[in-house]
Amino acid sequence: MNYIAPCLYAFGASLAFAIVFNIPRNKLLLSALGGLLGQLVYVVFQLIIGNDVILYLLATIAISLYAEVMARLTKSPTTIYLAVALIPLVPGGGIYYTMLYFINGEMDLGITTGVHTLLISGALAVGIIMISSTVNLVRKVMLGSSLKIGKKLKHGKNA
């Protein structure tokens, strides 16, 4: 239960965020599933990996992959799935405790927590960059094999 409950809460929060972002009705559940997936990966790998920066990286890789795949399958922008699924991973607690320690005058703890929070944010960015860049590369290699489309790509900055 300790492992499943956070996933369900993440799912609920993602679903609500999908409504705030006005995501199309038929894709609400699919995008919220991304939030659940990220948390699930985090919880499962928690059993073998102790470093939570690595855990955040793995979770981000999972949701980026999910977002790219779903975007291709449903022919819609990747952002729809990525932005919603990313939110439960944002280190809100880290930002808050950093500030709290500074207010309480505990500078050492504040700096430690602050750096840790920055590392987690970095892990989120790196996770997205790794997957998006790889997917783009694969897409271009596959498209490039057909000369006709390759010419078309030259015109547009197809990122």
């Binding site: 409950a5 956070p6 809460y9 993440a10 609920g12 929060a13 679903l15 609500a16 965020f17 409504i19 705030v20 972002f21 006005n22 995501i23 199309p24 894709k27 022919k75 819609s76 922008p77 990747t78 952002t79 729809i80 990525l82 932005a83 919603v84 990313l86 939110i87 439960p88 944002v90 809100g92 607690g93 930002i95 808050y96 405790y97 950093t98 500030m99 709290l100 207010i103 989120l124 960015a125 997205i128 960059i129 998006s132 860049s133 783009n136 015109h155 547009g156 900055k157 197809n158 990122a159």
Partner: protein
Amino acid sequence: MTITQLSHVAMEMGVILLSNGAETYRVEESMHRICIALGAKEVEIFVVPATIILSVTLEGEVPLTRTRRIHSRIIDLTKVSEINHLSRQICYEPTNYKDLIAEIRRIDTIPSYPYYLHVLAFAFISQMFTLFFGGSLVDSGIGFLIGIGIKLQMDIMGRFEANVFFTNIVGGLIASTVAVTATGLGLTTNMNTIIIGSIMTLVPGLAITNSIRDIIAGDYLSGLTKGIEALLIGAAIAAGVAVPLSLLRPFWGG
């Protein structure tokens, strides 16, 4: 299709994309694709978060340049998705000007989710994240109320066109004041959990995602602008939360 009509169609679609939360490269790529599909010879487009510059050349005509300044940005990914779909459709089957404009008007006026649903969504986010960070049921109820309060506050301040940082400072202020007061009254002992849970409603999720994606695509200008925006919003939330924590806590003896 004349050059004026062509640039009008492309510009309208670009404006809808940019003002509803699409990434910079998506706006540039879609507009480029539309112009070429509708028969332009050369197209140059430059997009930053607040402006679109479009320059079109048709065979045997004088080039035409248009600029559009975007004043307000909201988040409506339904419109982004629909325009994205339309821009792909144009490439497969050419459509005439009248139909295209009608279709763009239709997409522009697609209603978003009803207002009460947005308020409930904010409350639900706050409640879910309070539970997520380890709060009890009572805590999540308090989070629910804070979520409603934050949404109403954001809309009231939005009506007066307050800037986004001030809005977030006040949002943090509300979350923290309610949580500290509830703790002072003895309703709960998890003050930190409630505050973290409810400030998650203010997290600029789309700005973070788009800034990273813009930077990957090579649009450093837009990417950095959005990244700084996200960073400043984070700082604003922390500043707002900090005020009641330092001023009210001694009063309640926390």
